[in-house]
């Protein structure tokens, strides 16, 4: 038995260390590396899409292939890149931040991570099989599969996507339960709930949302599976079902899901802003309550994604007003970020730049979100590029910027080495410029009436798409710089101190960089 000779201080060597890992730092690194890898795969898929959209006419892809590509892009980015990366951060950081020896359920933790690579492979199998003439390719029905009958008539790819969803659901669920247990049970003495860092709070709330909505998504996928293969009739009007039922179930998951993606970023931004403003966190309580309020409201607004599906008048009005209410707790967060830098002594290292970039771009995404639920005009926005622009401002401008900020902020902590600050800033500026170049034109294409999900478009949309595609290519290329920066940092960056940043606060910065394999085996005392 390997276990006989393996002790706590000497993890098994080689691949077994990672396969059997129960150490939260090892798993954190695994999660984050996986997330990073998937970001590039998801990005590569969408590069093909943008190349097709560069000019009107079909140049590279068949329409069916186009649909597969953006479906895979979205699934991979959301479930493969952002969520695992954020989970990696929580794995690495939560025990350090609350002074715990590890996550509460280390083996469950391993279980949750090692589902992901299998799920990714399962998702991609049909995509590659089609090149050998087997099956009709991966799922091509959009990331939330909201068009039932289309799902029903899709080929083998849909079954693989359904099973992928089950696996991903299991992974998120185990991860979420682990977070809840860790936070509720593993805090060091004196670390009361209201003393926890905001990142931990945000993850606690995220986990809570995951536990409630992931099963609904799995249930919807299960219904789809039985409708496809076992003769049930959930979504078939002739037999008393309703295609709209699927949309209700899926958006009941889907709307909280967008906050699940963003909450971890909301939680870590105050850390970074406070550090580089050299000030304490501003409005701690207000932020905790705002996060809870957003969590609560997010369960009540799902139908704003289906306002054109012919809901009754009363439902339309309700979902409009309820959705608008989310702007109130969200603006609490925005003002707390403002309070965080106000009268600080700011410096602008790369993590700070990304944090400020997060605020700027998420602000645009959120404010554009504020106008979407207005039913009087949603008919014009819905399923147009306006929506695509909106959610990339939140997902990329919010989620990815947030994750980048976190990466730069804690990378020296993880690796014990500093990254190249100059290149980091360059990466930031390139990302900002090309990100906007990609997604601003999409807003205007949408206003002008360009629907999403189309492989080819009318000539009136050419100018905007051309700019957007160029922006996307350059955005993609500038992300390669990130790889270089990380590799360079890990290989031969200068040594980092434990404190890393001058103004950094929090338990994790009381440890050396990188922290030893086991930390806080006896809990620290928090005043």
């Amino acid at each position: 038995m390997t276990e006989a000779i393996t002790t706590h201080d000497h993890p098994p060597a080689g691949i077994m260390r990672w396969l059997t890992a129960t150490n939260h730092k090892d798993l954190g690194i695994l999660y984050m590396s996986f997330g990073g890898l998937m970001f590039f795969i998801g990005g590569a898929f969408i590069m093909a899409v943008r190349a097709e959209l560069l000019l009107p006419g079909l140049q590279l892809l068949s329409p069916g292939m186009y649909n597969q590509l953006f479906t895979l892009h979205a699934l991979i980015m959301v479930f493969g890149a952002i969520m695992p990366f954020a989970t990696g951060l929580n794995n690495y950081l939560i025990p350090l931040m609350i002074g715990a020896p590890d996550m509460a359920l280390p083996r469950v933790n391993n279980w949750g991570f090692w589902i992901l690579p299998f799920a990714a492979v399962l998702l991609l199998i049909p995509f590659f099989l089609q090149f050998f003439g087997i099956g009709s390719g991966a799922s091509a029905a959009g990331w939330v599969m909201h068009n039932t009958s289309l799902d029903l008539q899709s080929g083998i790819g849909m079954d693989f996507a359904i099973f992928t969803i089950h696996l991903l659901g299991l992974s998120s669920l185990t991860g979420a339960i682990n977070v809840v247990v860790t936070v509720l049970n593993m805090r060091a003495p004196g670390m009361t709930l209201m003393k926890m860092p905001l990142f931990v709070w945000a993850w606690l709330i995220t986990a809570f949302m995951l536990i409630l909505v992931i099963p609904v998504f799995s249930a919807a996928a299960t219904m789809l599976l039985t409708d496809r293969h076992f003769g049930t009739h959930f979504f078939d009007a002739a037999n008393g079902g309703d295609p709209i039922l699927l949309q209700h179930l899926i958006w009941f998951f889907g709307h909280p899901e967008v906050y699940i993606v963003l909450l971890p970023a909301w939680g870590l931004i105050p850390h970074i802003l406070a550090t580089f403003s050299r000030k304490p966190v501003y409005g701690y309580r207000a932020q905790v309550y705002a996060l809870w309020a957003i969590c609560f409201l997010s369960f009540l607004v799902w139908s704003h994604h289906m306002l054109t599906s012919g809901l009754p008048l009363a439902a339309e009005v309700y979902f409009m007003y309820a959705t608008m209410a989310i702007s109130i707790p969200t603006s609490v967060l925005v003002f707390c970020w403002l309070g965080a830098i106000w009268r600080g002594a700011m410096t602008f290292e790369t993590p700070m730049l990304f944090a400020l970039g997060f605020v700027a771009h998420f602000g645009m995404g959120a404010l554009t979100g504020m106008i979407l639920p207005d039913v009087a005009v949603n008919a014009q926005y819905h399923n147009s590029y306006v929506i695509v622009s909106h959610f990339h401002y939140t997902f990329f401008g919010g989620g990815i910027f947030g994750m980048m900020a976190a990466l730069y902020y804690w990378l020296p902590k993880f690796t014990g080495r500093m990254f190249d600050e100059k290149l980091g800033r360059l990466h930031f500026w390139l990302t900002v410029i090309f990100f906007n170049m990609t997604f601003i034109p999409q807003w205007f294409a949408g206003l002008d009436g360009m629907p999403r999900h189309i492989a080819d478009y009318a000539l009136r949309f050419s100018a905007m798409n051309f700019i957007s595609s160029l922006g996307a290519f350059l955005l993609g290329l500038s992300q390669l710089l990130l790889v270089y920066i990380v590799v360079k940092c890990v290989r031969n960056g200068p040594k980092a101190t434990g404190q890393v940043w001058e103004g950094a606060q929090g338990l994790e910065f009381t440890l050396p960089s990188p922290p030893p394999y086991h930390t806080f085996e006896t809990p620290p005392l928090v005043k």
Binding site: E3, P106, W111, G135, I156, L167, G240, L249
Partner: protein, 284 residues
């Protein structure tokens, strides 16, 4: 919150290969399943192989936890982790059931009435009344199932099983091992009886013409009871493990986290959903 700790050392388990094994098994079995339902019959082989791996992994993992438990690695601090974890897991199970129950509600309240009440001149389904129980405009005819036969008996069975589990736990707390074993055994018997009756109920339903072809009614019947049945089966297996452990003299009034967790699972993720299905599907 932290005063329950008996010492300052949390048990951090050593590396383990069971989780990865289970995942590989999951992957292989789902791959096989996907192939199987897409006319590649040999997928079944993969599926079985995968399931075998999952069984191996889970039993190994659980066995290991039991070993660790019995060799005194777990203290109230670790126990609390398990309990909180189980509580939130049950919450997610309830959300899972909730989705199916809400689907039923949606159909009963919204879908059927909308199908029946389209504009009279343009209706797509003339002559459709849309009154539950109904299988939708095009479904085969069937006779709806009554609530006061087998379903009611079944509900009583699972209620009784819940009570007997609580009684078993009382026995443990009072250091009455006989009562604990008896309670567990009774709960298992009741559970098995439930499943058996459910099978009879399916046969009865088929005689009344309630199949999947009877539209949304049959769909809901088989899905709700099916999902419930799977959880029931899992619960029975857990209870069986408990019973075995009880025979081996495991558990005592302080060290009973396994028993508590399974009791919760049984009462909240099996019994309550079962009763809800009875109330909302059969009765109302």
């Amino acid at each position: 919150m932290n005063e329950t700790r008996c010492d300052n050392h949390y048990h951090v388990p050593l590396p383990s290969h069971y989780p990865v094994t289970i995942n590989l098994g999951l992957f292989i079995s789902l791959l096989g399943f996907a192939l199987r339902i897409n006319t590649i019959a040999s997928g079944i082989v993969l599926m079985l192989a995968g399931i075998a791996m999952i069984l191996y992994g889970t039993s190994g993992w659980i066995g290991k936890i039991i070993c660790e438990d019995e060799s005194g690695n777990y203290h109230p601090w670790e126990d609390r982790s398990f309990r909180i974890g189980m509580a939130y897991f049950i919450l997610s199970e309830l959300a899972f059931f909730g989705a199916f129950l809400l689907a039923l509600m949606y159909v009963r309240v919204f879908a059927l009435s909308e199908l029946a009440s389209m504009d009279a001149h343009f209706t797509l389904w003339p002559d459709f009344k849309g009154i539950w129980p109904s299988g939708g405009p095009k479904s085969q005819a069937f006779t709806p199932l009554g609530a006061w036969g087998l379903p009611a008996v079944n509900s009583i069975l699972i209620l009784a099983s819940a009570i007997s589990l609580i009684w078993a736990r009382k026995g443990l707390l009072a250091a009455n091992r006989g009562q604990m074993v008896a309670g567990l055994a009774i709960a298992i018997v009741l559970g098995v009886a439930f499943l058996f009756q459910q099978a009879m109920e399916y046969r009865h339903a088929a005689e009344l013409g309630v199949t999947l072809a009877s539209g949304i009614y049959g769909t809901n019947l088989y899905m709700l009871t099916g999902v419930h049945g799977v959880h029931m089966l899992a619960g029975i297996i857990m209870l069986a493990v408990l019973l075995l452990r009880a025979f081996h003299g495991h558990f005592n009034a302080e060290n009973r986290v396994g028993l508590d967790m399974v009791t919760w699972y049984w009462n909240f993720a099996v019994v309550i959903p079962g009763l809800l299905v009875f109330i909302y599907f059969y009765w109302l």
